[in-house]
């Protein structure tokens, strides 16, 4: 089963971008981004927020796409990384940085999105539409997998556990 996990943390503190993006950079085995340069995503995300005077409220959205062991063997790290590029295109006007981690028993992709639009400075309000588009894409590309969307309520991202997820019945 391929799981798309929505981390239900609002990330309202000033250091949210440094902490979360720092975490996904530290453990990255592959890394890329959209609307920014992956080698300095924190500068780019904070710079955009400051420029639009939108450096308050929810700083980022955080998603994890994970694969179960049998599926891991059918997908390369680069393919998994390319899912981040696809999801970024669905989001279209928001900076994203994403990286593949292999620091748990599941290969997984962390995906962080700046909540400020780089086209007009509006805050993200797209809800689950891009998620559903992304799931449809995955379902078409990999019909042999079952693609599920979950919520997760972690205390910290290090304590994230899949068994804590609560299935989200949408779409």
């Amino acid at each position: 089963m391929a799981n798309l996990v929505v981390i239900q943390n609002e990330y309202r503190d000033d250091m949210a971008i440094q902490h979360v993006v720092g975490y996904i950079l530290r453990h990255a085995v592959a890394l890329d981004g959209y609307g920014l340069t992956p080698s300095y995503p924190i500068h780019c995300m904070n710079g955009l927020k400051r420029a639009w005077n939108k450096d308050t409220g929810s700083r980022l959205n955080h998603y994890i796409f994970s694969l179960s062991p049998p599926e891991e063997n059918q997908i390369t790290i680069n393919e998994l990384l390319s899912f981040g590029a696809v999801f970024s295109r669905f989001l279209h006007e928001f900076q994203t940085v994403y990286s593949v981690h292999a620091n748990s028993h599941h290969l997984h992709l962390h995906f962080v999105m700046n909540t400020v639009s780089f086209l007009c400075g509006r805050k993200y309000s797209g809800g689950y539409v891009p998620l559903l588009q992304f799931r449809s894409f995955l379902q078409n590309q990999y019909p042999q997998f079952q693609h599920m969307i979950y919520y997760s309520y972690p205390k910290t991202i290090n304590e994230f556990r899949e068994e804590d997820c609560e299935i989200l019945e949408i779409g």
Partner: protein, 89 residues
């Protein structure tokens, strides 16, 4: 807080030749640097008003355009873009 930001001035440390290179790279990626951004860079000063958003927006679009053309690993371009991002921090 917001009035402080509006009156704060920041320097963009670009020489004329560096700016020309950035402009050339932007054109190569199918982007044109708008007159406001050009004026900001040429005068080496940006007033942090909502217009700083023009620069931020342009930088993001430039990153996307460069990435689509496979130029996002060019160290020179990235160094120039990083300097511009730092001015927005």
């Amino acid at each position: 807080m917001s009035s402080q930001k509006k009156s704060r001035k920041i320097s963009v440390k670009f020489t004329e030749s560096e700016y020309c290179r950035l402009e050339k790279n932007a054109e190569l990626a199918g982007m044109k640097l708008g007159p406001y951004v050009r004026q900001c860079i040429e005068s080496s000063t940006i007033v942090v008003t909502p217009k700083a958003s023009d620069l931020a927006s342009l930088l993001c679009k430039l990153h996307v355009a460069l990435s689509e053309r496979g130029l996002d690993d060019d160290e020179t371009i990235m160094k120039e873009l990083k300097s511009l991002w730092l001015t927005l921090l």
